[in-house]
């Protein structure tokens, strides 16, 4: 994988988002830099997706900033922003049964690529992304014929094809079997090892522990902790965030049941 670098990564400060008078995210600050794989953890309704959308500039904020290299994501032209940050939303519908290669090529939209006439850098980036996600064999297949695990890899390849230095993925392993969860996380880790920076919403604490360099914990619209797994992942935190009883021994995490 190749991509341009950002100097400072993504810097989010004091982000607040509201909807219909309800505060969904309050005063959230965090950063995402190259070489980091950050897991965003929190119960359903904690405001994770809202925070991501606010950080990317897709949702209107009532306060705060989110900058990449000094420019606010909300003020960047969408195509410019997309070259710096790839986004894998939680819902990943595919409206038409396109061939896999075409869906991956949509990742090159911000570079001006048009489906069916990929040239030069666009074609190379698409081929690299297909290869990185082990999709060479499936490139010509209709997405309507793929399994959930194969589709997850297609969406990853679509995000990687942009060759943006940052990746934000909202529950990329939801509804996948354990093998494919590892597979997708391996792909994201490869992206980070190649110099990218990834922020990933996860619900599986063990997966987060295994893959992340840093964990951001959210509850009730606020970021309550942000740090390396060894420091922030504790039994007390599991109880506080999720209301579950768990045991943490080194790299081993065991969730035993509700409190």
């Amino acid at each position: 994988m190749t991509f341009s670098q950002t100097g400072s990564g993504l810097q989010v400060s004091g982000l607040t988002l509201e909807a219909g008078g309800t505060v969904l995210v309050e005063d959230a600050s965090f950063s995402l830099r190259a070489g980091e794989l950050v897991a965003l953890l929190g119960p359903n309704g904690a405001g994770k997706t809202t925070l991501l959308r606010g950080a990317i500039g897709l949702a209107a904020r009532s306060a705060g900033q989110a900058r990449i290299d000094g420019r606010d994501t909300a003020e960047m032209p969408p195509r410019w922003r997309a070259r710096l940050l790839a986004y894998l939303p939680q819902n990943r519908p595919l409206a038409w049964p396109n061939p896999v290669r075409d869906v991956v090529a949509l990742g090159r939209f911000s570079h001006g690529a048009a489906l069916g006439r990929l040239r030069g850098a666009d074609r190379d980036a698409v081929e690299r992304a297909l290869a990185a996600c082990d999709l060479d064999e499936l490139a010509g297949r209709s997405t309507a014929t793929l399994s959930g695990g194969e589709l997850a890899r297609v969406h990853c390849a679509r995000a990687f094809a942009a060759e943006a230095p940052l990746l934000i993925a909202d529950e990329p392993v939801a509804e996948l079997d354990p093998y494919h969860q590892f597979r997708v996380m391996d792909l994201i880790r490869a992206f980070v090892d190649a110099g990218g920076g990834a922020l990933v919403v996860l619900h599986d604490v063990m997966l987060a522990r295994r893959y992340s360099t840093r964990l951001i914990w959210m509850k009730d619209g606020r970021i309550v902790a942000d740090g390396p797994p060894a420091e922030t992942l504790t039994a007390t935190r599991l109880a506080e965030i999720y209301g579950v009883r768990g045991r943490v021994e080194g790299a081993r995490v065991e969730i035993e049941g509700p409190l």
Binding site: A82, A114, A139, R158
Partner: protein
């Protein structure tokens, strides 16, 4: 086929040739029997003045009108389907044609149409823009195509009722007949002048749609991910609303309501262009134009007492096709 280079070219070339053949065939038909050589000579500017009048000024504009109306509806249908990510979207189904038709009928009723040749296209386009704008507004609130189509049903019913009201109040049988003719949809007796007044709007609409086509591909991923890959969603919606508004309005100004061709043509085209909405635009326009030219030939070949209306025939064939396409859909998530 090289990877990443699936071309729409063979489909486009075939459709262009077929369209030209159909346009020529349409010029062979009429109350004066004329052999192909004489028609060809007249089209090429040779032959007698009588032949030229019949072929160039009566038959050709009718055939070209059918083609232009089809092209506008085919491209509008393909664009709306791309925007709403649903193969059942079309100006007719979404009520846009009906509201445009209400505009045109209003222009007839209030006598504006007699005052200026621009009145008809302007009123139809104003109606089309209002209808498309309303659908796009509704699309902001709901992701459900079913809801949008139901809103289209409501729009159609309202526009139909308002048109019935206008007919009810029609001052004389002539304006009533005018309005009925409009609502049934026809390209009979159209002149180059009619085409000239609608053409600028039609061309502007098609150009807008073609500039917005790459965004339609991106919308394959859904609106959220499409924004993520760099699509300006608000601008994309506006462009498709304006483009379909102008194109559909111009089509309705030319021919009244012609339904379903905007669904059928893209449905046939889609598998040929790898289901890419952007690449389906041009072939859908050509195929819909071809279909209407052929249907208008059919209308004249069927031996009936009074000539069948193109809009009636289009609906008789198109509505069952619409039902069939709807029944093929098995998705549960819209």
């Amino acid at each position: 086929m090289r990877p990443g280079r699936t071309s729409a070219f063979p489909a486009l070339a075939g459709l262009t040739l077929a369209s030209m053949a159909a346009l020529f065939a349409a010029c062979l038909l009429g109350s004066t029997p004329m052999e192909a050589e004489r028609v060809l000579a007249a089209l090429l500017g040779r032959g007698g003045a009588g032949d030229q009048l019949v072929v160039v000024h009566i038959r050709l504009p009718r055939a070209l009108t059918a083609f232009a109306v089809g092209a506008a509806l085919g491209a509008s249908g393909a664009a709306l389907q791309g925007l709403l990510r649903n193969p059942l979207a079309e100006p007719g189904v979404l009520g846009v044609s009906a509201v445009a038709s209400l505009g045109a009928t209003g222009a007839l009723y209030y006598g504006f149409a007699a005052l200026s040749a621009w009145a008809m296209p302007t009123a139809a386009i104003a109606g089309a823009l209002a209808g498309t704008g309303l659908i796009a507004l509704a699309a902001l609130r709901t992701a459900s195509a079913v809801t949008l189509i139901l809103i289209g049903v409501g729009l159609s019913s309202f526009a139909g009722a308002a048109m019935n009201l206008l007919m009810n109040l029609a001052p004389n049988p002539f304006s009533l007949a005018d309005m009925v003719n409009w609502m049934l949809g026809s390209v009979a007796n159209r002149s180059f002048l009619d085409l000239a007044f609608a053409a600028p709007f039609l061309v502007v609409g098609l150009v807008i749609l073609f500039t917005a086509r790459r965004g339609l591909s991106a919308l394959t991923l859904g609106e959220e991910a499409a924004s993520g890959v760099g699509l300006n969603l608000a601008r994309q919606r506006l462009l498709v609303v304006l483009g379909t508004g102008f194109a559909t309005g111009a089509a309705v100004a030319l021919a009244g309501v012609i339904g379903f061709v905007g669904i059928v043509a893209p449905h046939i085209v889609r598998p040929l262009v790898d289901h890419d909405p952007a690449r389906s635009l041009l072939p859908s326009a050509l195929l819909a134009g071809l279909i209407l030219v052929l249907a208008d030939i059919g209308v004249r070949l069927v031996p009936t007492v009074s000539e069948l209306k193109l809009g009636v025939v289009a609906a008789l064939i198109g509505a069952p096709a619409f039902i069939w396409i709807a029944m093929q859909r098995r998705t549960v998530h819209d």
